[in-house]
């Protein structure tokens, strides 16, 4: 159990029903999800498609209101999108009519913060992910990996307390994906934001997480919470670590597939 004082995000009995059309019973996407997430913790949600992990992320972000149960952030209930929570999507969702730096500064503009103050930070972030020279470029000149890096900068520009990531690397090739997971760890190591990261990749879930939350589909439920105790930054390439990573991955693999067989 997580110590009371450290809890930043508290999910208590969260359930979500989706209407399935007339004369059909509603589909249960999430059932009685209860989970505490600590400040500065990196939590990954892993599960098969349709297990409600993205739905859960949207509920935490306030984009979606749960059918029942409650979500608290920092002790107060979530009623809608919050300024201190950033969301990163599977698609880069960059605006093609703005160049890279203008895209990164979009949240600053929407939240009516002082652009001059944040321009420096935006450039620093772009430099951190190796995109500074592309600051004035158009979006379509960037590769998929570069676009997702820019989206990461945009999510971080207002220095949010919580970063919610919905399969952000799923659409990238394997090499770019590994690059980005290393970069994300490095960035996280610097200022220890609270990150909730949804993925369907077991390796990615284990590599990034302090805790892996395993979910089962229909209805979405938490079946297991696994602690990963490994020094950072972690990479698939280091043999000493890969032993532990493999052990965790194997355990998760068993869990995810055993349920299916049962």
């Amino acid at each position: 159990m997580v110590a009371e004082a450290d809890v930043l995000i508290r999910l208590d009995g969260v359930s979500q029903l989706f209407a399935a059309g007339r004369r059909r019973p509603p589909v249960s996407a999430l059932e009685d999800v209860t989970l505490d997430i600590r400040e500065s913790e990196f939590v990954t949600l892993v599960g098969r498609s349709g297990c409600g992990k993205s739905t859960l992320l949207r509920i935490i972000s306030g984009l979606l209101e749960p059918t029942s149960g409650r979500v608290d952030i920092g002790g107060s209930p979530v009623t809608g999108p919050r300024r201190d929570v950033s969301f990163m999507f599977q698609r880069p969702a960059l605006l093609p009519w703005r160049n890279v730096i203008e895209n990164v500064l979009l949240p600053v503009e929407i939240l009516r913060l002082d652009a001059a103050d944040f321009r420096r930070r935006a450039h620093d972030l772009l430099e951190l992910v190796g995109l500074d020279v592309f600051a004035e470029r158009s979006i379509w000149e960037l590769s998929g990996g570069m676009q997702q890096r820019a989206a990461l900068c945009r999510a971080l520009v207002t220095d949010p307390r919580i970063l919610l990531m919905d399969e952000p690397f799923a659409a990238l090739d394997a090499l770019t994906r590994e690059d980005l997971s290393l970069e994300l760890q490095r960035i996280w190591d610097d200022d220890r934001k609270t990150i909730v990261f949804v993925t369907h990749s077991i390796e990615e879930a284990v590599l990034l997480a302090d805790r892996v939350v395993v979910m089962s589909p229909r209805p979405g439920r938490i079946t297991k919470v696994l602690e990963v105790e490994l020094p950072r930054p972690r990479s698939l390439g280091k043999s000493r670590e890969s032993e532990e990573l493999r052990r965790c991955s194997a355990e998760l693999h068993e869990l995810l597939f055993a349920r299916e067989a049962a």
């Binding site: 984009l63 999108p81 300024r83 969301f87 599977q90 605006l95 929407i110 979006i139 379509w140």
Partner: protein, 254 residues
């Protein structure tokens, strides 16, 4: 193929097609012995254009001004209507069927009524342009405003943007490629609208020239007017294409 030669081909092909069409026209007139007051030859049309070279510019200018005034009015009215439709279910349900019904009315039938209401000046022509080209602009703009990509919609929602901020930063810019489809359909219709307007109760403009030349059986003059109208349509259309490339450069990259 290099960019230069591709551009050359894109100019050469329509020129060849035009030359072929004129050739067939000429050949048909010669083969079927069409008299000139029924179908003039291309040379006769060219001669009519040349002989009236001091007369045509002012007539064309009248039509062009009516077309552009009506078109700009259509853009303003059309985009405003589309925003109302896209953001209000109530207005969508009330205005939309009316627009569809109105679009089904033959606009030519309205020309005499417009003259009755607004007199013989430019006003009824401009209104005719509005009536005939506002619908595609409303339709395409409303479609564009309602087809914002889902991920951009979620992004702007996750930032708790106000309605106005969402419109300005996401909804309107992402609708622009759709809007330009409507504008390109609209501009061709706008020229037609101005000519229809000039068919009734006009003393100037290319539409008036066509009606007047019909009364004098001066078919070559009517054909010459039609040639100018066609050129005007093409130029206006490609001006919009150029404007689109300037304003919506990303449309070609998605």
């Amino acid at each position: 193929m290099t960019i230069g030669s591709r551009r050359l081909v894109s100019l050469l092909l329509p020129t060849l097609a035009l030359a072929a069409a004129i050739g067939i026209w000429w050949l048909a007139k010669w083969a079927f012995h069409w008299p000139s007051f029924v179908v003039p030859s291309p040379a006769e049309v060219a001669r009519a254009l040349w002989n009236r070279r001091s007369y045509f510019p002012s007539q064309s200018w009248t039509t062009l001004v009516e077309t552009l005034e009506g078109f700009i009015l259509s853009v303003v009215v059309g985009v405003a209507c589309a925003i109302a439709i896209a953001y209000s279910r109530l207005l969508e349900r009330s205005i939309y069927p009316l627009l569809v019904a109105f679009n089904a009315v033959p606009k030519l039938a309205l020309a005499p009524i417009l003259v009755l209401w607004m007199g013989f000046g430019a006003a009824p022509k401009v209104v005719m342009v509005l009536l005939i080209c506002v619908f595609p602009i409303v339709l395409s703009t409303a479609t564009g405003l309602k087809s914002t990509p889902a991920e951009l919609e979620e992004l702007i929602r996750s930032l708790s943007a106000s309605k106005l901020q969402s419109f300005r930063t996401v909804h309107f810019p992402s609708a622009l490629p759709h809007i330009f489809v409507g504008l390109k359909v609209g501009i061709s219709l706008a020229v037609i609208g101005a000519v229809i307007g000039e068919f009734v109760g006009a003393t100037r403009g290319l539409g008036y020239v066509i009606v007047a030349s019909g009364q004098n059986a001066d078919t070559a003059l009517a054909f010459a007017s039609i040639v100018i109208l066609a050129v005007m349509s093409v130029v206006l259309f490609y001006a919009l294409v150029a404007l689109e490339r300037l304003i919506v450069p990303w449309a070609n990259h998605q």
